[in-house]
């Protein structure tokens, strides 16, 4: 429809000045008049459709609930939700959790009817708005109309909107996590969450059940996360740094050309694959190795997850360190070599100190990555929240708990589900802090030598 509008706009602009030969009498190129009409045709209609679709589900549900007989009026919010879900399922022909009675069936038919009616209305309205928009724009065309400027203004605003999506995403993350976390902290005090030593996120179905309270002390999760992150960094930092040094300083161009892409392959492997490898290959291997020297090793030890995570992070550290080392001016390196130092000495005493801020920034980013890493720990680390610093025991992490709390069916406002959002908030805040710090250091350092 907007394509048609484009052609109509274009031909109208030409017709007004008297045929293709007289195009110079127009303010803008004929194509711009076409775009002008097309934009007027599609944008308002699109906005209408989007906002309609956003409002429609609520409206339809409200109408259906209104239509329910009086006996349903004084239901609690939870029961009402269940009822609505059942109606929806019935309407789409899915399995329903309660016996289907006449009222429910009627409501489902009503629901379907409303949806169908709303869609019809929407289609008619959208076409109408599109046509109206196009017609208005079409009638406005005259030689003096500054079509190009108007089209460009619209484009500009679209571009701004696109670039604001990043901001909206951040706001969306903060708001969605924050709201649920606040609801969680209304049920569980902040101090217990941050400093409690016991994590067992059960909430009872009945109030009189044993252990109905559940405890949400997240300290074991934080220590578990730190333990695994520590092991990972213990592997990744020396290996990644030495790799970067070797590739930057010693290796021939040919070896560099082979090794670098291989390490990039390492960075491109999905984390779920690392997790599989950690759980099925590395963990048994660690266990056997531990047993052969007489150590008690849990089959989901922190060590296995940490080792594999360390390997995953090697490419990140080595590429960021590589950048930092290469950013050090060659004159400094040449000066050190000229004074008779060996290459190792030049590296350790001159280049590394100069590159240190960049390397530290890279390590901070890597730590943030390790803290937020999910699949490896979900598959290879355990679920039991042990407060321990022993790498051979099973520990659990923040991300593992988020996944276990949210996967599966729970009611959305139980403390259990909300706890996941509180953990998510912690995760987001900590990684955000590390990222801002790391990126800031890296950027500042880069500017220093430029």
């Amino acid at each position: 429809m907007s394509i048609a509008a484009f052609y109509f706009g274009r031909s109208r602009s030409l017709a007004i000045v008297g045929g293709p030969g007289h195009g110079t009498a127009l303010h803008s190129l004929p194509g711009y008049y076409g775009y002008y009409v097309a934009i007027w045709c599609i944008l308002p209609a699109l906005l209408l459709v989007l906002s309609w679709l956003l409002v429609e589900p609520r409206l339809v549900v409200a109408l259906v609930v209104d239509g329910l007989p009086g006996s349903y009026e004084n239901l609690s919010a939870g029961e009402l939700n269940l009822l609505i879900n059942n109606i929806k399922n019935l309407a789409s022909g899915d399995v329903v959790s309660v016996d289907v009675d006449a009222v429910l069936r009627e409501a489902a038919t009503l629901f379907n009817a409303y949806v169908a009616k709303s869609r019809q209305l929407l289609a008619v309205l959208a076409i109408g708005v599109a046509g109206l928009g196009a017609a208005t724009a079409w009638r406005r065309i005259e030689p003096d109309l500054r079509a190009r400027n108007r089209v460009e203004n619209v484009t500009r605003w679209l571009l701004i909107a696109a670039s604001s999506i990043a901001i909206f995403t951040t706001i969306g993350i903060v708001l969605s996590v924050l709201f649920e976390a606040i609801r969680f902290f209304q049920k569980v005090p902040v101090s217990e969450f941050l400093f409690g030593l016991n994590w067992s996120p059960q909430t009872a179905i009945r109030a009189d059940q044993v252990g109905s309270s559940g405890s949400f002390g997240a300290v074991p999760l934080f220590t578990g996360t730190l333990l695994i992150t520590g092991i990972a960094m213990f592997v990744a930092v020396p290996v990644g740094l030495m790799t970067a040094i070797y590739l930057a300083e010693y290796s021939s161009a040919r070896i560099r050309g082979i090794a670098k892409p291989l390490l990039e392959v390492l960075a491109g492997i999905p984390t779920v694959v690392y997790g599989f490898f950690a759980a099925l290959t590395v963990a048994p291997w660690v266990r056997r190795a531990g047993e052969s020297v007489g150590l008690e090793v849990a089959s989901e030890s922190a060590l296995a997850a940490g080792l594999v995570m360390g390997i995953m992070i090697i490419p990140l550290i080595s590429s960021l360190s590589d950048d930092a080392i290469n950013a050090v001016p060659t004159s400094m390196r040449d000066g050190a070599l000229g004074l008779g130092s060996t290459r190792a000495e030049a590296m350790v005493k001159v280049i590394l100190p100069a590159a240190l801020p960049g390397i530290v920034g890279g390590i901070l980013l890597a730590v943030s990555r390790a803290i937020g890493e999910t699949m490896i720990v979900v598959m290879a680390a355990g679920l039991s929240a042990n407060l321990t610093a022993n790498p051979f025991e099973a520990v659990t992490t923040v991300t593992v708990q988020i996944v276990t709390l949210l996967v599966g069916d729970q009611e959305f406002d139980s403390a259990k589900t909300l706890a996941a959002f509180a953990l998510g908030l912690m995760l987001f805040v900590v990684t955000l802090f590390l990222n801002v710090l790391g990126l800031g250091v890296v950027r500042k350092y880069r500017e220093q030598y430029e």
Binding site: A162, I165, I269, V272, A344, M375, I402, N435
Partner: protein, 430 residues
Amino acid sequence: MIVPGMTGKRTTREIVEAGLSRRRRKEYLFRLVGILATGVGILFLGVFFASLIAKGSTAFKQTFVQLEIKLEQDVLAPGGELDLQYADFDGLVRSGLRAQFPDVTRRGDRRELYRLVSVGAGYQLRRLVQEDPDLVGTVQTLWVPVSSDVDMLFKGNIDASVEEAFRTLSDNQIAWATALQEGGRIRSQFNTALFNNGDSREPELAGIKGAVMGSFYMLLVTIALSFPIGVAAAIYLEEFAPKNRWSDLIEVNINNLAAVPSIVFGLLGLAVFINWMSLPRSAPLVGGLVLTLLTLPVIIIASRAAIQAVPPSIREAALGLGASRTQVVTHHVLPLAMPGMLTGAIIGMSRALGESAPLLMIGMVAFIVDVPGNFTDPATALPVQIYLWADSPERAFAERTSAAIIVLLAFLLLMNLAAVIMRKRMERKW
């Protein structure tokens, strides 16, 4: 302090020479550690791929057994009418199996015997009859899949010397299977089920088609949204945005978003798309939206780099000839930066394809047998399928997990290869 002529004090040259061998040793060690460190990463890669291929390659084959099955009239068409829905196809397969071992008569033994053949044999039979109803009443010689345990036996994953109680196959079953093999009734074929089926509880019937289609729909949504938006954002930031607080904020924001843990995006998707907008759970549409937000920073950063690589002289020439700034962008900058942008998009897509943590949050971990047919059908994605299979206790699923990983890595490799080739092909030197 050094006074010429004094003995016992060493000259600078002597001090240096004395330390030289120690320093050279250190230099050598340093270099060795460097080589070792580089080796660790590459060694891991080698071990990883070797173990993956060793474990996964067998999953591309499936063992089949040959049975003569009599398609009996009274079983398939009890009232003279063909009854595809409720006819006892499994029973026919079983009697075919019994015919091979007439001396197995005890009930318990027979039940064990039936477990040699996959439940998929019944489905296969039904399809056969469905396609050609004239076969009813005839005897057909068919190759049907064996159960996953027998499959494992022939692939050498079950050790017959282990005590019977610790094996998934009994002594009898092993003996029967071996007898079938000696009779030439066992053969190994390409495992088409792996690529044609959705998920299943039975390893020998489980396939990745559902997951692949789910990933496909998701990536379709992702590319359709994230590429235009990402490119538009990059154009605005590079070509139009005034350097002020707002554009600084956007820039910092984008860099941070690229480093936010992916699981946090999952929480966002759960809270916003599912709870607030009430979009369907487990749908590729929602997965695609979440992955769009996830890949957007990657694409924006790559696109900005591509735009920066276009020399300013081209913009100035176009402006000098009277083009507006929008025209400069659409006529010159965009076409010249397009290869770089596309490369960035492919890299973003390969990241999206491997992502699983946020998908767990929005309910794409359900056990789904059907192959999704559109954007709102419940679906899983390939990495999530790998996660699900990795959790299954059956031996045969470990093999299939490896096979699914091989397929996933093959896709990723293809995408990255495409990106590299595109970069090489369209590279321009200014």
